[in-house]
């Protein structure tokens, strides 16, 4: 089932990816081929199967630690890689149109 051009465009919008027309065309074809391949899973009756929602067996995960205040990164360290900052804030372009 080939993905339509509009559908590819809509997925790119959802993913906040700006794609060129060429990329949309190529991905459309490749994604359609991959989606055709995964149709294989429809052979299986999974109506009575529970999904594996955790890769770690129950009781295996590390117990929760006490919710106490601890030293953490300083604002300067946390902001050191920011493309733009102002004071102790990340600076972003205009949000409200």
């Amino acid at each position: 089932m080939p993905l339509s051009k509009d559908e590819v465009h809509r997925i790119a919008e959802l993913a906040r990816l700006k794609l060129s027309e060429e990329e949309e065309r190529v991905f459309g074809g490749q994604l359609s081929a991959i989606l055709d391949y995964v149709e294989l899973l429809k052979e299986l009756d999974v109506s009575a199967v529970l999904p594996m929602t955790h890769a770690l067996a129950a009781g295996e995960a590390a117990p929760l630690r006490e919710d106490a205040v601890r030293p953490s990164l300083s604002a300067d360290e946390a902001l050191a890689n920011a493309p733009a900052r102002e004071g102790t804030c990340f600076k972003v372009p205009r949000i409200i149109e």
Binding site: R16, E23, L35, Y37, V49, M52, L56, E60, N81
Partner: protein, 495 residues
């Protein structure tokens, strides 16, 4: 033995030499740095060499050795890290332009643990962008080559990690394995690689790809070296909720116990499923060697094997699309200015920063999770995952471990599969099930392909948290089979 000759030694052999004071860490580190400088321009294993830090760490290790305060087997040993592990003060990119110039403010837990063990870190290794790939050709910077044949891929995504070990540029490395990214490159480069049980190693500070599948694993020249590395990094970390509180075994304690009495499951689906003839031949010989060693072979069935790739290529991209949402040009990494405000900036940044494979997987994952498709794709794949795990649970009632090939072929040529992502994905058929079922898997060399002369890898899969049995079985085979010759694509060092 000269320091340059020592580069041919295993990690634990070097460790004994350092402990005996027969060589210094600084000498061996200088030899490794010189070899990297000479050979890596052809190989492309390193994205960054941290020579000054390495020299400092080596000198500190030598000072400890002189005071009689060596910290253990890794003290003073030159290692290197896939560029997916955060390293305080050292650029970390995950092989992506979107993280170019990113300098982490903290170390990953595994990096902390290696440093605490006294290891010398030589630098950051090449990889497929965000660990997405099976050939290292998706690195945004430059491809990595296979030391056995520079026209071939080293495998991926931890291609640099495998190539560096095979080329004797480091005594061991860490990689990550989401669908085979430690085991496949280990097999292609003729080294040992382990994907531990999900939860065995902390992922704090490891750049996330698919969080229900990702696991950190060692690559090394020998099984015992890999065991020593796992022992140093494994165990509970309160900063990673998914790290297990289970005590860590002493992996070296029973590693020489041999294969006698082990029941090795051979899945009938695996040697049928399109394994190239020369690979199948070497795998069958390895199984015959196990019988000579007193193990028994048990035919088992993993009937859902053929659904593994389909389930994996829904779950991994879905989780990736969520994990990669954080690269938005706000907190770190690339920002491309958009004139139309925030949303434009997101789109332009991600367009310019991500390569084709992350984009493809973000698209696939976004689609699989989008309204109306979740049940048909992600949820169904998670149910198939349960079936895959049940296959193994049933098999482990009759055997102690499962054996088969790592990959259906030896290392393929650079460029051979880049235009056909689905063909590239199908090469993961024997490795993804291990991640989907959250089990440990060990890849180790089982000889050279009879016609192509390239390494073939055997894969051993164990019960959850039973890495010790994998190491023991792997070591038994390593002792039984002739050692691989040094890789023929590069200048050699004494073995």
């Amino acid at each position: 033995m000269s320091a340059a000759d020592l580069l041919g030694a295993s990690l634990l052999e070097l460790s004994r030499v350092l402990a005996a004071g027969e060589a210094s860490s600084r000498e061996v580190t200088e030899a490794a740095l010189a070899r990297i400088e000479r050979l890596d321009p052809k190989l492309g294993a390193f994205l960054e060499v941290t020579a000054e830090e390495a020299r400092r760490e080596a000198d500190a290790a030598d000072a400890r050795a002189r005071r009689g305060e060596r910290r253990g087997p890794l003290d003073g040993v030159p290692l290197a890290l896939k560029d997916i592990f955060l390293t305080r003060g050292v650029e970390t990119t995950a092989g992506s332009r979107i993280l170019e110039g990113f300098v982490p403010p903290y170390d990953a837990t595994v990096v902390e643990r290696l440093k605490a063990a006294g290891a010398v870190l030589l630098g950051k290794l090449n990889m497929d962008e965000f660990a997405m790939g099976s050939s290292n050709e998706n690195s945004a910077f430059f491809p990595c080559h296979n030391p056995w044949d520079l026209a071939r891929t080293p495998g991926g995504s931890s291609g640099g990690s495998a190539a560096a070990v095979a080329a004797r540029l480091a005594f061991g490395t860490l990689g990550t394995d989401t669908g085979g990214s430690v085991r496949e490159p280990a097999a292609f480069c003729g080294v040992v690689g382990l994907k531990p049980t999900y939860g065995r190693v902390s992922r704090y500070g490891v750049i996330a790809f698919a969080s229900s599948l990702d696991q950190v694993g060692p690559l090394a020249r020998t099984v015992a070296d890999a065991a020593a590395l796992l022992g140093a990094v494994a165990g509970r970390d309160e900063r990673d909720m998914t790290s297990s509180a289970r005590p860590v075994d002493d992996y070296l304690a029973r590693i020489e116990d041999g294969a006698r009495g082990l029941r090795i499951g051979v899945p009938r689906e695996w040697l049928e499923a399109g394994v190239e003839a020369g690979v199948a031949e070497r795998v069958r010989e390895a199984l015959a060697a196990y019988e000579r060693l007193g193990a028994s072979l048990v035919e088992i069935s993993l009937p859902h094997t053929k659904y593994g790739i389909a389930a994996y290529y829904l779950i991994a991209p879905a989780e990736a699309s969520s994990n990669l949402a954080r690269y938005d040009g706000v907190r770190y990494g690339l920002r491309v200015k958009g004139d139309q405000g925030l949303r434009e900036m997101y789109g332009e940044t991600r367009r310019a920063g991500f390569g084709q494979e992350p984009k493809r997987r973000i698209m696939l994952g976004t689609y699989a999770l989008s309204a109306g498709y979740y049940d048909a794709y992600y949820l169904r794949a998670q149910k198939v995952r349960t079936l895959l795990r049940q296959d193994f649970d049933r098999a482990f009632e009759r055997c102690d471990l499962v054996a088969g090939p790592v990959a259906p072929t030896v290392a393929f040529r650079l460029g051979e599969k880049v235009d056909d992502p689905l063909q590239m994905y199908l090469a993961d058929v024997f490795t993804v099930t291990c991640n989907l079922a959250a089990l440990p898997g060990l890849a180790l060399p089982c000889g050279l392909h009879p016609r192509e002369g390239l390494p073939v890898g055997l894969q051993l899969i164990g019960r959850p948290f039973d890495e010790a049995t994998l190491f023991r079985a792997g070591r038994a085979l390593e002792r039984e089979l002739p050692a691989l010759p040094p890789p023929k694509g590069l200048e050699r060092v004494a073995p």
